[in-house]
Amino acid sequence: MQINGAQMVIEALIAEGVDTVFGYPGGAIMNVYDEIYKQNDFKHILTRHEQASVHAAEGYSKASGKVGVAMITSGPGFTNAVTGLADAYMDSIPLVVISGQVPMSLIGTDAFQEIDAVGISRSCTKHNYLVTDAKDLGRILKEAFHIASTGRPGPVHVDIPKDVTAQIAEFDYSLELNLETYKPHVKGNPRQIKKAMEAISKAKRPLFYLGGGIINADAAYEVRDLVHKTGIPAVETFMARGTLSHDDDLLISMLGMHGSYAANMAMSETDLVIGLGARFDDRVTGKLSEFAKNAGVIHVDIDPASISKLVNADYPIVGDVKNVVKEMLELSSEIKSEKYSSWRDTINQFDELHPLAYHEDTDRIKPQWVIERVGELLGDSANISTDVGQHQMWSAQFYPFTRPRQWISSGGLGTMGFGFPAAIGVKSACPEKISVNFTGDGSILMNCQELMTAVEQKLPVINIILNNNFLGMVRQWQTMFYDKRHSETDLSVQPDFVKLSEAFGGIGYRVKTKDEFDAALKDAVEKNIVAFIDVVVERMENVMPMVPSGGSLFNMMLLEKKEK
C-alpha cells in the first residue's frame, strides 16, 4: 500500500504489537504525532522530559520483557534522550528509539534544531539508522525491532527527517528480513558444554556466578532448576537480583563492591566459577589479578566480546543462556549434590561470621530498615526500582526478591534520575503490581517533573525517599577516602517534598518514626495515587560491607561488630 512515512511508523508499531509508546513531541516529529492522534491501537504516554521517555521505556521493557519504544523530536529532544540510550546500552535493554530530524534538504546546514543524532548515538546504541527515503522505512523499523531484541539486546535508534515522514511510498511490513551480516550465535557448542559439565563434576568447590543476562534471556527458571539439581551454591550480580528467590538455601546473596562477605569469600575460595550471563564487571571482580585466583572459569554469554575480555575463560560458551542452561540440565545427572555439602557448610560459616546486617543504634530510622520493612509489608506484590546511590545498594542488599524482573535499577551507567520514570514504565507494564521506587534526596530531583506524568496517567508510583540530607554515596567515599572533606555533597537545603508532590496532584508524607512509616506506606497503597514518602533517615550511615575500588574481594571493609 502507498502511505506516508509517518503512517508507516504507526503501522510498524502496530505490527510489532507495541501497546505503549513513551515520548515528547516537537517540530521534526510532528507528522508522526499527527498520526498518533488519529489511531487507537496503542497508548502514548507523554513524559515531561525526553530523558524520562527513554527511562520509562527501559522500565517498561525490563518489567515486561518486551521491546520498549520511545519517540522524541530532533535537536534538544534527542540530546535529552542520550542519557537514556546510554543507560539502556550499558544494561542491554531492548529499545527502539525514534527521533525526528530536520528535513533532508536542511541536513548539514546547522538548521534550527539540527544535531548529528546518529553521530551522537553511534557509541551508545547497538545500531542506528538515518532514514533517507520513505521506501526504506518499513525495512529499517523491522530491522530495528529485530536487532534490539535478539542476540545481546540493546537500544536501536532510528532518526527520521521530517520530509521523509511526509513522503509517500510503498509499504509492506510482511517483508522478509535479510540481514546476512547479523546472525547472533544462540546455540552453545555442544562439545564445549559437555566439557564444561565434566569440569563441574570434577570440581570440589564450584560456584554459580549469575548475571543480568539471565534475566534478559528469561532464563531464571531454567537456572533455578540447574542450581537445585546440582546443589551448587550461587552468587548473584547486582543486575541478576531475583534470579533465585531470597529464601533459596543455595543463594549466597550479591557479590562485588557491596556484596556480602560470604558471596565474596565464596568467589575467592571457589575452584570453578560457572559464569552465566555475567560480564565480570569491575564492580564485581575488584582487583582482577586476585579475582577467583585459583579457579577455572566457565563463561556462558551471548556476546563473544564479553568472553575473556577481563577474565580468561577456560570453557568459553557463546550462546543464549537459556538454551545453554537447558543443555546443561540434560547433562547434569552426573553431578552429585552431596559432594558439595562441606563446601556449602563453609559458605554458611562465612555467612554466620559476617551476615549482611546493620546496627539500630540511633534515634533516626536506619535506611536499611525501611527497605526490609517494605519487603515485609509488600514483598512479592511490589516491583522495585531505584535511583542511584546508597539507597540503591541497600535495596539490592536488603529487599527480599522473589522473582526475575522484580528488580529494575541502573547498573552499568549508574544514572541518577533513572528510578522514577523507570517505575512509571514498570507500572504501565505491570498494573497489577505495586510500583515502588527507592530514591535519594539527590536523585529524586533529577526527574521529579515526572510527577506530572504519573498523576496524569494515573500510574501510582510510590517513591520512598531515603532522605539523609546528603549525596550519600559520594559523601561515603569522601568520609572514607577524602578525610571527611564533604565537598559539595551536603543537601541540607531541600524542597518540601510533601508539598512538591501535592503541587502536582500527588500525595506526600514526611516520616520520622517507624510507626509513621508503616502508616504512610499503608495509606499510599490504599489511596493508589502517586506518592512521595520522605523518610528522615540516619545521615551518616555507610553501605557495608565494601571492597574499596581496585581492592581484592577477600579484603573487605566490614560492618563493625557491636557488643550487646
Binding site: 546518529v118 553511534r122 536487532i147 546476512e180 551480516t181 575473556s308 575480555k309
Partner: protein, 157 residues
C-alpha cells in the same frame, strides 16, 4: 604491561552510509590504535574491504576483532597470520637532485618515476611497509620535498 604487537586486520563491510565512521568510532571510543587504514569497494559486490594496521596486546587484538564483528554491517573479520602486504608511497624531489640515482633506487623498491615537471619529479614505490620505511630512510639525502604513504593492503597467502 603485556607486549604490544603489530597486526593487520581485514574487515568486510556492507557498503552503506556511515559504515566507515562506525569502524573508526569503535577504535577511538575504546582506545585502540590505528596505524593505517585503507578502504575500497570489492568489485562486483555490495561490500567494501578495509585493511587496518593496528597494534596492541593479544587481549586487545582479540577485543578489536570481536568488537568489530559485533557491528551490524560487518560481514567478516580476518586477523591475518600469513599474508602478502603492500603499501605505496609517492615522493616529490627537486629536479636538481640526481635523477638517475633516484630512479635506480625506486626500481629496487618496485617503483619508478611517474611525473617530471619543471621544478619537481614525483616517484612512486609499492612494497612491503617495512621496505617502504627503508626506502624513505635512504632517499633522505636527496632532499624529498613531500611524502605520502597509502596505508597497507593485504591478502592472506
Amino acid at each position: 604491561m603485556e607486549a604490544s604487537e603489530r597486526r593487520v586486520i581485514s574487515v568486510i563491510v556492507v557498503n552503506e552510509a556511515s559504515v566507515l565512521s562506525r569502524i573508526t568510532d569503535l577504535f577511538s571510543g575504546r582506545g585502540y590504535n590505528i596505524t593505517s587504514l585503507t578502504v575500497a569497494p570489492i568489485p562486483d559486490s555490495r561490500y567494501s574491504r578495509l585493511t587496518i594496521v593496528t597494534s596492541g596486546s593479544i587481549r586487545v587484538i582479540e577485543q578489536i576483532t570481536k568488537q568489530l564483528h559485533k557491528l551490524i554491517p560487518v560481514l567478516r573479520v580476518y586477523e591475518h597470520a600469513d599474508l602478502v602486504e603492500k603499501e605505496m608511497a609517492l615522493v616529490k624531489f627537486p629536479v636538481t637532485e640526481n635523477i638517475t640515482d633516484i630512479s635506480t633506487l625506486c626500481e629496487a623498491y618496485n617503483g619508478k618515476i611517474v611525473n617530471v615537471g619543471e621544478n619537481v619529479i614525483i616517484v612512486m614505490v609499492a612494497d612491503e611497509p617495512k621496505r617502504v620505511d627503508n626506502f624513505l630512510q635512504v632517499i633522505k639525502r636527496y632532499n624529498p620535498k613531500e611524502i605520502v604513504r597509502s596505508g597497507a593492503v593485504a591478502l592472506e597467502r
